[in-house]
Amino acid sequence: MVSVTEDLAVSDDVLIGRLVKGDEAAFVALYRRHSPAVYGLLCRVLGPHRPEANDLLQETWIRATARVASFRGDAQFRTWLMSVALNCYREWRRRHDRHEPIDVEVVDVGMDSRDERSCDIRRVLTGMPDAFREVLVLHDIEGYTHDEIARLVGIEPGTSKSRLSRARDLFRRRWLPPAGDRHD
């Protein structure tokens, strides 16, 4: 077991420099620092396919570690890591879409009673078609622009805009509506 306690206060830049040389403790420190954000992103964008987040998180770190020497530092490490995660997600979605229908039905997920409002949002997002959810998550939750989404997801910026509009309409109808009308 590698002790990373002393690395908790070390900057990303220093840890990245050590990781380039293969330092396991530096990897573990970076993993623990950034994985909750990456995992949260993957869970949100995956929706009902949330169990896939485990494999995609692992794939993200393997790919990022193999290429960390090419990280130039002109963006924050977490931003770069998120783009690696979204590339992994994009490839997963292409594979998944060939085997499963793109639109998914509402799938109930475990609720977190600490935050009712957020849980409702998660329920609505989970029940949305994949193509709508990913644009809504990337634009309205993660803050990506349409140009960035187009590059990350492999669609045209105009498609991203139209999907966002339709996704918001769907969200508007499904979020906190009268109980009997939620899935109309």
């Binding site: 396991e24 995992y39 794939e59 290429r67 960390v68 490839e91």
Partner: protein, 184 residues
Amino acid sequence: MTDDEIAKALADARRDETPPAAIEGQTVAALKAARLIRPPRRPVRTGLLAAAAIAASLIVGIWIGIEYRRPSPRESQFLLLLYEDAAFDARYRHEFPRLEAEYSAWIRSLARSGQALDGEKLAWGGAELLPGQPAKPLPDAESADTAHGYFIILADDEPAAIRVAETCPHLKYGGRIVLRPIVR
């Protein structure tokens, strides 16, 4: 509810999520298997040894994660293009992190013995360019005609290169490799 209100509600829902603890250990194990990380070493006590290590790293070329070296003029370079079909994808779609780690370990092993120059996984997308025509985006879908990755290896001649390519794990999993000599 306006779009801005929806965007704000969604932005408030952004939060980190802690991944299952087991993922860290699995990722570390995969990275070790690929020799991308290693446990901390004892610090080098002798300045002479440190100087020798720096000199050695200059001899083998730019440090970009593995010890790529400059090929000698007499050595031939060969490009290995990796293809996979739908059956490959269906069989291993849940094991890509493990396969990536195994492929990384293979190319790193070759690099350490001076038999490899480069290697990358290729992302989706790209374009086909023809004279006098606008760039045509490649289909963003799984295709057996589209290369999914490449390696550049070094060998004395083509038979020797084939013998090296035959050890690539891609073949073990049913993938296809095309070997092409590079003109130097």
